[in-house]
């Protein structure tokens, strides 16, 4: 059964799985060099020019699966030798140009960048072109194409450029670790560092939860991720791995919704603080707006804090769709509460490294949060929850006017308007991923149905109001 969206994800998964397997068997240090031979079998290349290159790249992936370059603070890293140095250069006229008489391209180009050769075929003067794309729109043969690298195209904060060797390079000062490029590079040349080995160690050293209790906090988007198993089986599987208990991050979201609603009613204007990539983006590109970021910790950190405060000797691993959370948990204010972060991709690798077949497991339960906490996983959910939280706290008088932005471009638009003082809204819900966290780079699948799965999961919550869900916490 197909598990992942692409073969690149599948390859990465295999590496993670084998690294986890070796780590569980406590032989990683001695035998990780054997892994490339286990993954690239035979002597016929299936991905690159030769099996030697394939193995060399797998070896690089192994390094990343084992934590990556310790000197690079970013969790998103480039595998230089895996980069195909794709062509780039923006708008160009392809062979499909027929050298027509109409010359709509020339007409529409305000910069006068289009010129013609002696066969009447069009060319673009790159010194004049501003990459507006108008010519491409009007050509009746769609002969003008935009040649962009998929990674460059994916990165809406423009952190991606190329180095002197034409390979991709990431500017850490701009990168928000959203992971869009990781998911979009068709060669898998950009990868998120993995803490899967740390998590295996946390499991092993807990000694069946005797030395400490190992909690998994799972993001609500989990409901859409494992289509070949029931959610209850996924929860059972996590416990089979060696976790003591599984807690919904959505309960943290319920807590956040309450305090955020209150904070908003007091301050009058706020941006959300749940998405670490969005928060990072504000700090980097709109520093003047940083004072408006909600003071709340993210739902992940909020619930982990609660677990650690109430349960002595607890350790917490967050499992979610998100590469940016791998940055967030290293922040000073979050570090005490979260011990490690992995993605759903990595969870799948962990299951399979232990040969856990979810589909035959008995169903376990996951229930703490309300409908509202659970729908945080999709764009618009956070705003719905804050509206509900205002109502439940008797703050309906506050004229709540949210804007839900998913994807950095939508976030940028709202932030720019707000910084100039002409945004009509008083609450910016910002999610770096298109669709919200269900579009996160660490998801196993990114499908249309994922949104309805999240809503369904929300409706299944025992607690219908936020107040009900969090009343036990006081």
């Amino acid at each position: 059964m197909r598990k992942f969206d692409t073969k690149v994800q599948d390859l990465k998964y295999k590496v993670l799985r084998e690294v986890a397997r070796h780590a569980f068997e406590d032989r990683l240090a001695e035998s990780f060099i054997d892994i490339p031979d286990e993954i690239v079998v035979g002597n016929k290349p299936t991905m690159r020019c030769c099996v030697y290159k394939e193995k060399a790249i797998v070896a690089e992936r192994i390094k990343l699966a084992m934590g990556g370059d310790k000197n690079n603070p970013n969790v998103i890293e480039v595998i230089d030798i895996a980069c195909e140095e794709c062509p780039m250069g923006g708008y160009a006229v392809s062979d499909a140009c027929r050298g027509c008489i109409a010359h709509r391209c020339e007409e529409v180009c305000k910069r006068g960048a289009i010129y013609f050769d002696h066969t009447q075929k069009a060319h673009i003067d790159k010194d004049k072109c501003v990459e507006c794309g108008q010519c491409a729109k009007v050509c009746p043969y769609t002969a003008i194409v935009n040649i962009k690298r998929p990674c460059e195209n994916a990165c809406k904060v423009k952190a991606i450029s190329m180095n002197e060797n034409w390979a991709v390079s990431i500017q850490n000062e701009k990168c928000t670790a959203c992971g869009a490029c990781v998911y979009q590079c068709p060669f898998g040349a950009i990868m998120d560092k993995s803490f899967i080995v740390d998590v295996v160690e946390l499991i092993r050293k807990s000694n069946h939860n005797h030395n400490y209790k190992l909690y998994a906090v799972v993001a609500p988007s989990v409901s859409s991720q494992f289509s070949n198993a029931q959610l209850g089986q996924v929860i059972r599987g996590i416990k089979e791995l060696g976790f003591f208990h599984v807690v919904e991050a959505a309960l943290g979201a319920d807590m956040v919704a309450m305090t955020e609603a209150k904070e908003l009613s007091e301050k009058g204007f706020l941006t959300s603080s749940c998405c670490p990539a969005f928060v990072d983006y504000i700090r980097k590109e709109f520093p003047d707006m940083a004072k408006h970021i909600s003071e709340n910790l993210s739902p992940m950190a909020t619930i982990a804090k609660y677990i650690k405060e109430t349960t002595p000797n607890a350790k917490v691993v967050f499992i979610g769709p998100c590469t940016a959370k791998k940055m967030e948990f290293q922040r000073e204010e979050v570090r005490p509460f979260i011990d490690s972060v992995i993605t759903f991709e990595e969870l799948q690798a962990l299951f399979d490294s232990r040969d856990i077949d979810l589909s035959v497991l008995e169903e376990d339960v996951l229930d703490n949060a309300s409908y509202y906490g659970r729908i945080f996983a999709r764009s618009g959910g956070l705003s719905d929850a804050v509206r509900e939280a205002l109502k439940e706290q008797g703050l309906e008088d506050f004229d709540f006017n949210p804007i839900s932005c998913d994807g950095i471009e939508a976030c940028r638009l709202a932030l720019r308007k707000a910084s100039r003082g002409n945004l009509p809204n008083n609450f910016i819900e910002g999610m770096a991923c298109v669709g919200g966290c269900i579009g996160g780079a660490g998801c196993v699948t990114h499908e249309e149905r994922n949104k309805s799965e999240v809503d369904k999961y929300g409706q299944e919550a025992l607690e219908k109001t936020i107040q009900d869900a969090i009343s036990v916490l006081k």
């Binding site: 929860i235 003591f244 208990h245 807690v247 109430t310 376990d364 703490n368 009343s471 036990v472």
Partner: protein
């Protein structure tokens, strides 16, 4: 005195919230807020017997309906 109610998923589905709310109310009614520290924890590793509640090291298995009785017979005598 510290009373801990399990609010892990399994106990939650069996009614931890009702148990907590009932205990909160009983504590308030009996004016014991200063004497009893009510807290929650996620799972006590004894899910089949939920809702699990502990007083110190002692573990009790409650249902929302038996909470009042538990309070009268177990909590009050320990005050």
């Amino acid at each position: 005195m510290k009373i801990t109610v399990c609010i892990g998923s399994s106990c939650h589905l069996k009614g931890s919230r009702e148990v907590v709310e009932e205990l909160q109310q009983l504590i308030a009614e009996n004016d014991l807020k200063d004497k009893i520290d009510l807290c929650g924890t996620f799972c006590m590793g004894n899910c089949v017997n939920g809702v699990n509640v502990t007083i110190g090291e002692e573990i009790f298995s409650l249902k929302p309906e038996t909470t009042k009785n538990f309070f009268d017979t177990q909590v009050l005598k320990r005050i």
